[in-house]
Amino acid sequence: MLAVEDVTGLRGGRVLFRNLSFRVGAGSALSLEGANGTGKTSLLRMLAGLLAPASGAIRFGQVSEAEERGKFVGWLGHHDALKAQMTVAETLAFFARLHGGGETGPAMEAAGLSRLAGLPGQYLSAGQKKRVALARLKLSGRPLWLMDEPLASLDGAGKALAAALVRDHCAGGGIAVIATHEPLGLECERLAL
């Protein structure tokens, strides 16, 4: 259960959002909507514990401290976090090792990347890079998924894939908070900033 209480966000002295409160229960998805610059990314970073809100509190379950909360987060950020010289397989393997081991095969399959496994990052299209990010999300095994514009650069099949991944995640009891311009094709609550 993700609880956000009275959170205020500032950027460069300007107020992005004030006294924001909401809850997302296990198995639910929340989509954050709003124009560019309304603070969706900042809010996601606050939820992840990377950025401190100007005021208010955020809790995930019983955990309120920022860095501890971060250990429950599966993060799909604005940038792809893909090294140009590392292949898809290496990137995912590194991530898996970082998170305590595990097989990367199933996640790669699920994201439709098996064919691209040996390709270095610099040769991937934007959509393919997003798929790698999605695979990474699945690999993390973390309960709280925070996704910043996951549908950007994805084609129809990719978008369906993303939606399917989120659906499965929520079905398994996970929570997803997604900042997006486009409709996800999912049952979810919506919050406009």
Partner: protein, 216 residues
């Protein structure tokens, strides 16, 4: 943590990585200084400890601004911060990777350069660089963490870090000079203490700096 270490080493060692750059810089200094100063081997041998130590510090600084900045810009640093590793552990891994890809190769190359300068005290140079270059990586990492969000951070990083590295250069070159005179002036133990303190304290300061810059 070892996974991060290996990843960074591999990235630095590949084409476009920093390991080659540092070695090339070290070699360039070693070649240009005699061209600028004259071929008198007596003179070269006398200035060698200082020149080689300064070259080692500058070469190590070359790749330092990208230590965190590269990961910051492509979003990897966020993932590292959210990984099971603490930021302090991340800092240790990065410092170690930096040393292994700049400080250590420089140290290994130093006997060759010592020969070029006619410097006799090769073991002393080797040991002083071996002991002292970790301090350069450690203290440099703090600067890298502080400047990771600055676009042209590479320009301000040396200014911040160089005064802090003065003791390393002083003790490092001093140790070699002592060996040349056949004396022992306590420089090496002092260098060791400085390096040890730097390596122990730096991860905390570096993590604090990174944490600060992530919250943006």
């Amino acid at each position: 943590m070892r996974a991060l270490l290996w990843r960074d080493i591999r990235l630095a060692a590949r084409a476009g990585g920093s390991a080659m750059l540092a070695l090339a810089f070290f070699a360039a200094v070693a070649t240009l200084v005699p061209l600028g100063v004259g071929a008198d081997l007596h003179l070269l041998a006398r200035i060698a400890p200082g020149i080689l130590w300064v070259a080692a510090v500058l070469a190590a600084l070359l790749a330092l601004d990208r230590l965190f900045q590269a990961d910051f810009e492509d979003g990897s640093l966020d993932l590292l911060a959210l990984s099971p590793l603490s930021l302090e552990t991340v800092a240790v891994a990065k410092i170690a990777a930096h040393w292994l890809t700049t400080g250590l190769p420089l140290t290994l190359l130093s006997p060759l350069l010592a020969v070029l300068f006619g410097l006799k005290a090769i073991p002393a140079l080797f040991v002083s660089l071996l002991v002292g270059t970790p301090a350069v990586s450690a203290i440099g990492a703090i600067g890298a963490g502080l400047t990771l969000s600055i676009r042209r951070g590479g320009l301000i990083l040396p200014l911040i870090v160089l005064p802090l590295l003065a003791p390393a250069v002083i003790f490092g070159a001093g140790a070699v000079l002592a060996a040349l005179d056949g004396l022992s002036n306590g420089a090496l133990p002092l260098l060791g203490a400085f390096s040890f303190a730097a390596c122990v304290l730096s991860p905390f300061a570096t993590a604090a700096a990174v944490r600060l810059n992530l919250g943006s």
